[in-house]
């Protein structure tokens, strides 16, 4: 008669209690891993949206640039260095940028803008701004033009007025604003025709700029208009220039969208009198796990050792996002903690009942010669079997669930979906794949079970045989 078999029969003895205990563990594990997978999935989505699409996972820059992002803290562009970094296996894309602030004006409207000097080709691979190129804009001009030819129906007019100033990256998005209205196909074609924007994205040798859509609206400019820009150049030189607008893009981030001016890198260097200087290399990675990011950061550090540069991760540079994720993560963990406390008390209750029911039996066993330690072990064994079955079942159901939703991401609806679509993403929410967090849920349950086991262990070590037998 092995102890395992004895434990198994003891579990069978009170089937209902065993079933309840196992299912509480099962549901806890299932809930925990599915919830965690969702949470972690949403974080990687946030990171993908905010970081990968503009910021970059890692930046290489002058040590003082983080505190004082001025042209004085830029550095000499080094082709070999860039190539060296791109050769690191986990590095997906590298692009060089020059950033500076400038005043942009058109007519008598002036606004502070962020000038981003980019290498158009590598930037396309990196953040692909071209993807956000505006094709349709509902401007006052367009409306006037429409009305001049032929009066619009009241509804169409109303919708256009409601969305005046908005930009659209494709016709489908523009058409969607009319979806609740009775608008004839004919009129839709007229609207599409009149609001069309013929912009394009930057090319290396361009001497014009591409600006963001809210900025274009604010300055009341369009393709073909010119922007007058004033700035301070490198080493205090004053910079000024006139730049034709070649294209308009709609940047998902509203803040960036209200003040962004893209320029080819060479033009930006010219404008700011900082020939061949760049502000940073922005780097995106394939594998963004903490360990891989750390390893890659280290590889980059080794390659830039000779230059007076430093490596910054997006976490270093984006405290706000990091804190946002962290606080959400903490509340997620707190919820799990509560869940496990509940499970703990469930198991604890089970153990107490079980011990009390079997006290006489324990007394007999110790009286006839069973060592207390061995007795305690048989009880712990029973608890562990329940824990393992519950955890295994939880994994058995939970893992396919997260696997499924990782491959078939959940399609978001409502506000969240709208927000994501505005940002140019499909409103899909992938769950995080299998990872350490899955293992931790099992470990946590095991710890709870072991903690609950302290009760019978204590009870068994302390009880007096004569008292136990009397019951």
């Amino acid at each position: 008669m092995s102890y395992l078999k004895m434990a198994q029969r003891n579990l069978w003895r009170n089937k209902r209690r065993t079933a309840i205990t196992i299912s509480s563990i099962f549901f806890a594990i299932l809930l925990a891993i599915v919830m965690r997978s969702f949470q972690l999935g949403s974080y990687s989505l946030m990171i993908r949206n905010a970081i990968e699409q503009y910021y970059g996972h890692i930046r290489v820059q002058h040590p003082d640039y983080a505190d004082d992002p001025s042209l004085e803290n830029t550095f000499e562009y080094d082709e070999r260095l860039l190539e060296n970094i791109s050769m690191i296996p986990n590095v997906k894309t590298v692009t060089s940028r020059l950033e500076t602030f400038a005043l942009a004006s058109s007519g008598n409207i002036t606004k502070g803008v962020l000038v981003l000097g980019i290498e158009p080709e590598s930037e396309k691979r990196f953040s692909n701004p071209e993807h956000f190129l505006v094709r349709y804009r509902l401007t006052q001009d367009a409306l006037d033009r429409l009305e001049k030819i032929n009066a619009l129906t009241a509804q169409t007019r109303e919708v256009i007025l409601a969305y005046l100033g908005e930009s659209f990256t494709n016709s489908a998005k523009l058409v969607r604003i009319f979806e609740d209205e009775q608008v004839s196909a004919d009129e839709l074609y007229r609207v599409l025709d009149a609001t069309k924007v013929k912009g394009r994205f930057l090319r290396e040798a361009d001497s014009g700029v591409v600006i963001s859509s809210r900025l274009a609206t604010y300055l009341n400019v369009s393709i073909g208009d010119s922007l007058i820009m004033l700035s301070q150049g490198y080493q205090g030189a004053s910079a000024a220039g006139v730049f034709p607008i070649l294209g308009i893009i709609r940047i998902p981030n509203p803040d960036l969208d209200s003040r962004m001016v893209y320029m080819p890198l060479a033009l930006a260097q010219n404008f700011t009198y900082s020939p061949n200087r760049i502000a940073y290399f922005a780097i995106n990675l394939y594998n963004t796990s903490d360990e891989m990011q750390k390893a890659t950061t280290y590889s980059i550090q080794v390659r830039i050792a000779d230059n007076e540069l430093e490596v910054k991760t997006w976490q270093n540079l984006n405290r706000v996002l990091v804190q946002q994720i962290e606080s959400d993560n903490q509340s997620g963990k707190a919820f799990l903690f509560l869940l496990y406390i509940v499970v703990f008390f469930g198991i604890y209750g089970t153990v107490i009942m079980m011990v009390h029911e079997r006290m006489h039996e324990f007394g007999v066993l110790v009286a006839v010669g069973m060592n207390k330690l061995r007795l305690a072990l048989t009880v712990v064994l029973e608890m562990l079997i329940m824990a393992f079955i519950g955890i295994a079942l939880g994994y058995l159901v939970g893992l396919p669930v997260i696997h499924y939703y990782q491959i078939h991401p959940i399609r978001l609806t409502g506000e969240m979906a709208k927000m994501m679509m505005d940002m140019g993403f499909e409103p899909l929410m992938p769950m995080a794949p299998f990872g350490a967090y899955v293992v931790w849920q099992g470990v946590s349950i095991l710890v709870m079970v072991m903690l609950a086991c302290l009760y019978p262990i204590r009870k068994i070590i302390r009880f007096k045989v004569v008292d136990a037998i009397k019951r």
Partner: protein
Amino acid sequence: MAIIEVVNVDKIYNDSDVKVVALSGINLMIEQGEFTAIVGPSGSGKTTLLNLLGGLDTPTNGKIRVGDVWLNEMKGSKLIDFRLRNIGFVFQSYNLIPVLTAGENVELIMQLQGVPAMQRKQVAAEMLSKVGLADRVSSRPAKLSGGQQQRVAVARALASRPKFILADEPTANLDGKSAESLLQIMEHLNRTEGVTFIFSTHDQRVVSRARRVILLEDGKIKSDFAQ
């Protein structure tokens, strides 16, 4: 040499507010092969005495020798192991582990002793047949009558090859016929195999089968005679 020697033993329960003197000034010798009944009215100290003899509890004063070992010199797991190898127990009721079959209940004690599996099976079957339950080896306790359960308990006690078997009111919960048959078996084992039995009872019919009767009253030995 007597297998049990009790010297000036007192047992005083002090755990509640009132002090209960359960045993006082007990001196006793028990020889190998005895078939001894400890009798007396309820509350006279029978259970207390058996518990002390079995090393399940410790006397307040005095000492007890079992074989060549003084029980007060052992503690914890050493004492448990001593019980395993030297003393057989039959309690009033619910002696058996409910999830184990009769055979496994008997085997369990040998397993604790480290007897190899093959031998365990064989001995268990042998012991069960000695108590007339050869055909119930694979029955769970719940499927056995009270009398049969007590007989399995005797078989289990026997299987450990103890120096003596302590039985605290083994017939208390049995009907007349079952009590009779249990006693017969115990007597038979005592006669033919020399197994030492010390049992408590307040059942007159059981008393009449004992060869030595120790009468307790208010925790003192009132009389001690052979019959």
